[in-house]
Structures are given as C-alpha cells and as structure tokens.
C-alpha cells in the first residue's frame, strides 16, 4: 500500500462510500467525464456510471437544491462546488432550505456540500475563498475542515454518513502537498464530526487553528521551541460546527495563553467566536490577551506579492506568539 495525497484520500472516501451505500452519489460541474477540476473524482464515472456521477450544468442552486431534494428522499448526495467561492450562487438552498428543514419539518437532509477552499495558489478574489464563517454562523449545518490526508478521508466518510447537511471544506493548497502524503489504514474508518485533535503537546501556549494553517502553526511551534524554549500546544479544530469545546477549554486551562490562527478574514471569523468562548469560560485562567492571527478584512488579492502579504504564515504567527509569550 502506497502513501496517498490529501486529494487522493478525498477521492477514496467518495469511492468507498459509493461502494458501501448505493444511496450515495456525486453531482457537480465537470465531476464526471473530466473527473473534477482538480481530478478528485477521476475514474468514478467509469466505475459508477452517469446516474451516480452526474455532470451538471453550471448552476449551483440546481446542484445544491437537487441535493436537498434527493436527501429528503433518503439519498446521500455529495454536491461538489467546483471552487468553494461559487457556493454563494447556491446560498439560499443551504441557508433557507437545507439547514432549516429538519428543525421545521422533522425530515432529515443527509447531504454533503464539498469543494476546494483557501488560497495560496494565485487564485485571486474568486478562487481562494474561506467561506466557513458564513456557514458557521448558520444554525442547522455542520462545518468540517480537514488538514491531513487521514482526516480528509475519515471526515468525509463521517460527513457522508451524517443525517444532516455538512459543509466539507477541503484546502486546495493541501491537495498534492508531498509532505502530506501518508499511508492510510486499509480498513474502514471515520473521523467523528465534532472532535478536535491535539497535533502537538505543550505547556506554555495553545494555538487553535484548522485547515492549511495547522501546518504553519506546527512550523512556528517548532521554531518557538528551538529559539525561545516556548512549548506550544497545537490544536487542529477539524470540526468548526459543532466545536469541540471540551478539548479547547482543557488545553487553554493548562497553557493559560491562546493564539488563534485562521486563513479567513479577522472580523466575525471563527476566531472571534473562539475568543468569546474563552473570555466567558476561562477568564480567570488567562495570563495574556487572547490573540488572533488572520487575514486582513479585505477581499482576497491576486498578485503574488499581495497574496503573500494577505495570508497568515509562519512569520506572522511567530511575531504574534512571541508577543503573547512575553506576558
């Protein structure tokens, strides 16, 4: 068995779930013949046929709305957004249709919306979105963000088996990153929704992060240990809605300092909610200001120099962490 990429892990999850459960199907733009814009679904059309791997017109409301209808019928659709930026074209289907359905009717909507999110690939303002905060704010939808190949597969399987709408945000920068290749267990496994994971143990500071920023935080944590003897605990949230409050609070209770890092813009982001939770629940445990590292409150820029200036990275994390460590 060879090591697989983050992207291959996603493809494996879809394929294995389609083999396991005939209610599972994939629909989206160019997912069939072309195998998806990033080739996530390469080979699935050949294996499962055009009825279960559906090339749709360029119509996100039709894609997501059809997924809602099929899910009401008891199917388990996976609706792909070619780039997650395009999810705005189907926003109403998620916010008003899918996420309120069970609550107001008692009818479950077991569906997954997934697609490539995040920047760092010179995608510019319309191919680099991190839309998690919009949906994090919406009751009735779960939001997950894998950062490793193992989690990419396990979280997607859990999302497909979930009886509620799940937004699964895969980070396109991680798709083929050689250092993320890993051997995955041959047996069936899931990564449960709602469980964060400790990526690195430490005593002096907690970094709360998710997605591609997990890897920037781990690099920064290594430097902090080498250069300043600061032991950083890195928590990969994995699931944003619901949040694993228990793991978050437990960590900050013993490190007493917290740095929140996300690629999305600062204001009203996931970090804002995390900061509020920590301020409310752990006020007496905090030895320094709850600190956030995030993108500035502007749209995602195109030019390489601007993109580099926009994205949080190891250096920006280090600057903030050093300041926090000094308290």
């Amino acid at each position: 068995m060879s090591a697989v990429t983050y992207l291959e892990a996603i493809g494996q999850a879809i394929r294995e779930e389609m083999l396991r459960d005939e209610a599972v199907f994939l629909l989206g733009e160019d997912v069939g013949t072309y195998g998806g814009a990033f080739k996530v679904s390469a080979g699935l059309l050949e294996e499962f046929g055009p009825e279960r791997v559906i090339d749709t017109p360029m119509a996100e409301a039709a894609i997501i709305g059809s997924a809602v209808g099929a899910a009401l019928m008891g199917m388990r659709p996976i609706a792909e957004m070619q780039f997650i930026d395009f999810i705005t074209c189907g926003f109403d289907q998620i916010i008003n249709m899918a996420s309120k359905m069970y609550w107001r009717s008692g009818m479950p909507v077991p569906m997954v919306i997934r697609g490539p999110s995040g920047g760092g690939v010179k995608g510019g303002p319309f191919h680099s979105a991190s839309p998690e905060a919009w949906f994090f704010h919406a009751p009735g939808i779960k939001v997950v963000v894998p950062s490793t190949a193992y989690d990419a597969k396990g979280l997607l399987k859990a999302a497909i088996r979930e009886n509620n709408p799940v937004l699964y945000l895969e980070h396109k920068l991680l798709y083929r990153l050689p250092e993320l290749r890993e051997e995955l267990p041959p047996e069936d496994y899931i990564v449960p929704i709602g469980k964060a994971i400790l990526r690195r143990k430490g005593e002096d500071m907690t970094m709360l992060t998710y997605g591609a920023m997990v890897h920037q935080c781990l690099k920064a944590a290594h430097v902090l240990e080498q250069e300043h003897d600061v032991q950083v605990e890195v928590i990969d949230l994995r699931s944003l809605a619901p949040l694993d409050k228990e793991t978050i609070l437990e960590s900050v209770k013993h490190t007493n300092k917290v740095l929140i890092v996300h690629e999305d813009t600062l204001t009203g982001g996931i970090g804002a909610e995390l900061a509020a939770i920590l301020a409310e629940d752990l006020f007496e445990y905090l030895d320094g200001p709850i600190t956030r590292v995030a993108a500035p409150d502007v749209p995602f820029p195109y030019a390489p120099a601007l993109e580099a200036a926009y994205l949080p990275n190891e250096e920006k994390i280090l600057t903030a962490a050093r300041k926090l460590a000094a308290y």
Binding site: A59, L72, Y102, M107
Partner: protein
C-alpha cells in the same frame, strides 16, 4: 383523464373546502388569532385542485404558499393547516414555522419556504431520485408567475430538461407578483413559451376552467410519466385578493378584478355540474354542510391545541444518527429508519390525515336522486 360522477363531486367538494378554509383563515386573521401574515388563493382552486387531481397517490407535489387546494387534494389535514396558522405546538412545524410550509415526504408532499422559486431545484432532486431508483412516480412542482423571474426557476427547468426528469412544472400565473403586474415581470404573452428554450412540452390553459386544467395537466402528466422529460404548463388565473391579507391590492384596476370575478372557477364548475345533473340542490347542501363541519372541526381543534412549550426553543436542530430509508421503497415506513417517524416527537408525521384524501361521501339517499 376519465372523470366519474363521484370524481367530479369530490373535486367540487375539495374546491369548496379550499375556499371555505381560506375564508375562515381570513376571519381568524381579522380576529387577531392568526399569528403572522395570511396568504390565500381565492380564484386558484380550479388550478390547484385540478392539477393535483391528475396525479397518482404515489406521486409527489412540491406545493407553494397558495397551494392549499393541492394540499387538501393530496390529503393534508385541515386540522394541521389551522394549527399552522395559529402557531400551535402540535402543528407539523411544532410552531417553528407557519403558513402552508408543511409536508410529509411519505405522502409525497415537500414543504416549501418563503423564497419562491427555490423549491424547484428541490423538486429536481426528488425527481432525480425517482429516475436513479427507477420509480414510476413523477413530481408536480408549481410556482407563481413571480417565481418565474428567479434564477432557480431557470436552473431547475434547464437541469430537469437535460436530465429528462419526471417533473410537471406548473405556473400559476395569477397576474401579479405582490403589486407588480405581469407586464413588468416578463415580456412574453404566455409563460409556457419558456418551455421552447428548454426543449420541453409547454402549454397554457385557462386556469379557472377545472375541466380544461385537468385535461391539459393530465396530458402533461401522462407524457412526463412516459419518460419524455419535464413539461411546463401555465395556468392563467387571477389573484382575487391581495398578496397577503395586509395588502388591499388597490393597485389592481377594478375592471380587471370584476372581469376575473365573473370567471370565478367555483361557480363555473358548479354550472357545469348542474347542467349535467351531477350537482343537485340537495347534494350541494350536503357538501356545504360537510365543508362547514370540516372547517369548524379544524378551527376548534387548533384553538384547543396548546401553544408550543417555550423550553423547546433551542431543540430539534439536528436529526439523530441512524439508518435513513429511501422514500417510496419497501419498508420505508419501518420505524427503525430515522426518516420513517418525526423524530422530534417520536410520532408519525402529522400534516396528513391518517385516512389520506378528504372524501365527500354522499348519503345513499342523496346519491340516488
């Protein structure tokens, strides 16, 4: 589609029940008993009841806010409807939502939302499932003239035509999108002309003529069931009242309203039934009596029903884990499936009466006359 005498009386009964339910809802609104806005469809009854009549029991509808006639034809309980208007704790939405935003997937009814047009892509997903799972059922997806201006309307028609989905799209063109007249909504004479662009069957029909509606929609249903892809039928009708009861609709020219009041679908159908000696004064009286009794029962039931328990305000956001049945397939009612029961209450879904379609049953004596 062949209509027996009993069918015609049943249709007339449901049309009358629809009108009476709405008249009574309006009264409850004026009495301050309805919690929110009231949206009615006086004048639509031939379209809503007639179109729904053409379906088989196992088919699906994706009704909108003015489709009480469709709901009642398909078996939605008048009690459930009144509980919705009065925001009762035992309403199908448990008081979380109002209006006709109710349904029961096991009875082929998909609940709608207030964003009109958005249900049409959902109808595509229901039909896509039927196609994938090789069911012989079809979907009827109505919308108003207003919704035809939305993106989802066009996305749904296009996707359905490409995928040859078994859907009858039904436009209830009632002349106004709230206060906006059709000439400010679209620049064509008949909305069924939209069908040409999607390469599907399109027909317009007098939506106030019950028999014409059944004939035209019935033909479309037959074609769609035959696997030829979707159809688009425009029923031309008129919204006699305002957009909601808060709207006086004084923007509607008096002459236009008068013109349509003359074409009221219920007296028109009544004239036909009388001419054909199907509806006698005695049967009519009996129908009126039964309509009154059903409406009274629904109102009394709703008024005696409890308000929702405020402590449930943060409940029922997510469905529990467990197996989910594919609707319309064997054992999909087996309680082991999460979607076989309303898991919020642990009971069966309650928007549809246990007996299914409301039936007018003439007494034998009257029936013989």
């Amino acid at each position: 589609m062949r209509l027996e005498r009993a069918d015609l009386l049943q249709i007339y009964y449901v049309m009358r029940l629809t009108r009476a339910m709405e008249d009574r809802t309006r009264m409850l609104f004026l009495q301050g008993k309805v919690v929110g806005g009231v949206y009615t469809a006086q004048g639509h009854e031939a379209t809503t009841v007639g179109a729904a009549w053409t379906l088989a029991d196992s088919d699906f509808i994706v009704p909108q806010h003015r489709d009480l006639g469709m709901h009642l034809t398909r078996g939605t309980s008048p009690r459930a409807v009144m509980c919705q208007w009065l925001a009762r704790g035992n309403s199908p939405s448990l008081g979380f939502d109002g209006q006709l935003h109710i349904g029961d997937i096991h009875h082929g009814i998909v609940p709608s939302i207030s964003m009109l047009g958005e249900s049409l892509p959902v109808a595509c997903g229901v039909a896509l499932t039927m196609k994938m799972r090789k069911h012989s059922t079809i979907v009827m997806a109505p919308c108003g003239d207003g919704a035809t201006s939305t993106g989802p309307f066009h996305e749904a028609l296009n996707f359905a035509s490409v995928q040859k989905l078994p859907i009858v799209f039904l436009i209830e063109n009632n002349g106004y999108a709230y206060s906006t007249p059709t000439f400010q909504e679209f620049a064509i004479a008949n909305l069924s002309e939209r069908a040409v662009a999607y390469g599907i069957l399109g027909e317009s029909v007098d939506g106030n003529d019950l028999l014409k509606v059944i004939e035209t929609v019935g033909r479309a249903v037959e074609q769609v069931r035959g696997g030829k892809g979707p159809a688009l039928i425009e029923c031309k009708t008129f919204r006699v009242r305002g957009h909601s009861e808060a709207d006086k609709a004084d923007y509607v020219p008096a002459a236009l309203r008068e013109e349509w009041l003359v074409k009221d679908p219920i007296p028109r159908f009544e004239d036909y039934l009388t001419r054909e000696h199907i509806l006698t004064p005695d049967i009519k009286a009996e129908i009126e009596e039964q309509v009154k009794a059903v409406v009274e029962d629904a109102v009394n039931f709703a008024e005696q029903s409890p308000a929702p328990d405020p402590s449930t305000v943060a409940d029922y956001l997510f469905a529990p884990d467990g197996p989910v049945a594919i609707i319309g397939e064997p054992e999909s009612h087996d309680p082991r499936y999460i979607n076989a029961l309303d898991r919020r209450t642990g009971k069966t879904f309650n928007s549809v009466t246990e007996t299914g379609k409301p039936a007018f049953v003439a007494t034998e004596e009257v029936g013989r006359r």
